[in-house]
């Protein structure tokens, strides 16, 4: 890597200060540890392929494909959504009239309704982590079953709610949001807390749930509510006993 006209490096000079050359030799062998590199690589292995530009603010939180579609594609989606909303309205009004005419629903209808409104087991399991992590904060909205939209005879309401509560994973945007939250911890803990709340709302099943909770705990502590912070920390350590954050939280609890 040495250019032909380059001066000799300090390590090649016999009269260089040996203290400095020793420090430089040490620095050259300095590398990130293998586990840190592997953790970083694993994070990026899990990311969807990157785009050429960051998504505009209004598109943040949406699936990456939404930002790369042509404007006409957006128009098509809008028209489809409009038609769907119209259909939902018509069916809803029809259903209302029918329910007025037949006040007592059949048992089979009731079962269908309750099963359609209940989250499926797989979705429940997937959402359990984020729901438990957020146990000390505001309750998480029920997540409709992925099967409800395809269930014949399912209530209209479940169809309407499905797209709004199943955002596609977007770790890059999650990271951005939490980075802002972490930066705000120093100067404006209230904003940091608000950003973690926003993260919880936008990414209820995000990949950075633990990071969000740690920031939220720190924000609550800095806002002066040590008791709530401790209780959130307890909930966190109980939920994620093997988390790398747990050790730091335990330390912080002992040294508030």
């Amino acid at each position: 890597m040495n250019g032909s006209d380059d001066p000799p490096r300090l390590s090649e000079l016999s009269d260089a200060p040996s203290g400095l050359t020793d420090l430089l030799d040490e620095a050259k062998s300095d590398q990130l540890s293998d586990d840190r590199i592997e953790a970083l690589a694993a994070f990026f292995d899990g990311l969807p392929p990157g785009g050429s530009e960051a998504p505009p603010p209004e598109a943040q939180g949406r699936p990456p494909t939404a930002t790369t579609q042509a404007p006409t594609a957006g128009l098509r989606v809008g028209v489809k959504l409009g038609m769907a909303a119209f259909a939902v309205g018509v069916v809803g009004i029809g259903g209302w009239f029918i329910s007025r005419r037949v006040p007592a629903p059949q048992p089979s209808d009731t079962a269908a309704t309750s099963s359609a409104l209940a989250p499926s087991a797989s979705v429940q399991a997937a959402s359990e982590e984020s729901a438990t992590a957020a146990s000390t904060a505001e309750p998480t909205a029920p997540i409709p079953s992925a099967t409800t939209s395809s269930t014949p005879g399912a209530p209209v309401g479940s169809k309407r709610r499905a797209p709004a509560t199943t955002p596609a994973p977007n770790p890059v945007e999650e990271h951005r949001l939490l980075r802002s939250a972490r930066a705000a911890l120093v100067t404006d803990p209230a904003r940091a807390k608000a950003l973690t709340d926003e993260h919880r709302r936008r990414f209820p099943r995000g990949v950075l749930t633990q990071e969000r909770e740690v920031i939220a705990i720190e924000a609550v502590r800095k806002l002066g509510n040590a008791k709530a912070a401790r209780s959130k920390a307890d909930a966190f350590t109980k939920r994620y006993p093997k988390s790398p954050h747990t050790k730091n939280l335990e330390h912080a609890k002992k040294n508030p």
Binding site: G19, E26, I37, G51
Partner: protein, 194 residues
């Protein structure tokens, strides 16, 4: 300097190398994260921020890898990203009112970790010395003496004429020798573990 680095980044992505575009970001991380971390560290990113800074570097890679077409080597491209990220981190750190620590204080350290501690001590001494340099000198010194890049490449990354890069290297060496004398670090004090 930031604008210049951005131009270097863009220039680096103007011609197609057959290999880089086929890499996944995970592969780039595994191949290059070692020296990316080292470069960021000696460019002044605090230890507590090092993981975040590394992640920022590779997020840029993640966003732009499909566009990287290799007029420069991928290492040059990564160095340019590192310089930008390190510069931003230093600015943010200067604005902070509290200092961050990589590890919480009072964390017990076993006697078997002496080797690690001495290594950390040597690293921290060099970081303190480098912190006294101005940013331009520091970039040239770190890339030349630690990363062993050529002066031509460094001048291109730093956006300065070659002669200016030589001058900055010379000035940085003088300043570091002075700092070394001032800190009273005798050569025998710097015992670097093998």
């Amino acid at each position: 300097m930031a604008e210049h680095l951005w131009r270097v980044l863009m220039t680096a992505s103007a011609k197609t190398p057959p290999t880089a575009t086929r890499w996944s970001v995970g592969q780039v991380v595994r191949a290059h994260a070692g020296y990316v971390g080292r470069t960021l560290r000696y460019l002044g990113v605090a230890e507590a921020d090092l993981d975040d800074a590394c992640q920022e570097v590779f997020l840029v890679v993640h966003r732009r890898l499909s566009e990287f077409e290799g007029r420069a080597s991928i290492t040059t491209w990564l160095y340019a990203i590192c310089l930008r990220v390190a510069s931003a981190h230093r600015r943010r750190t200067a604005q902070r009112r509290e200092s961050t620590m990589h590890e919480p204080p009072d964390r017990p350290t076993g006697p078997t970790q002496e080797h690690v501690i001495r290594r950390q001590d040597a690293r921290s001494q060099l970081q303190k010395l480098l912190a006294d340099l101005d940013e331009d000198q520091r970039v040239v010194f770190v890339l030349f003496e630690i990363e062993e890049r050529s002066m031509t490449e460094i001048a291109e990354l730093a956006g300065c004429p070659l002669q200016t890069a030589y001058y900055r290297l010379h000035a940085a060496r003088k300043q570091l020798e002075k700092g070394l004398r001032r800190s009273g670090v005798a050569p025998s004090d710097v015992v670097v573990p093998s």
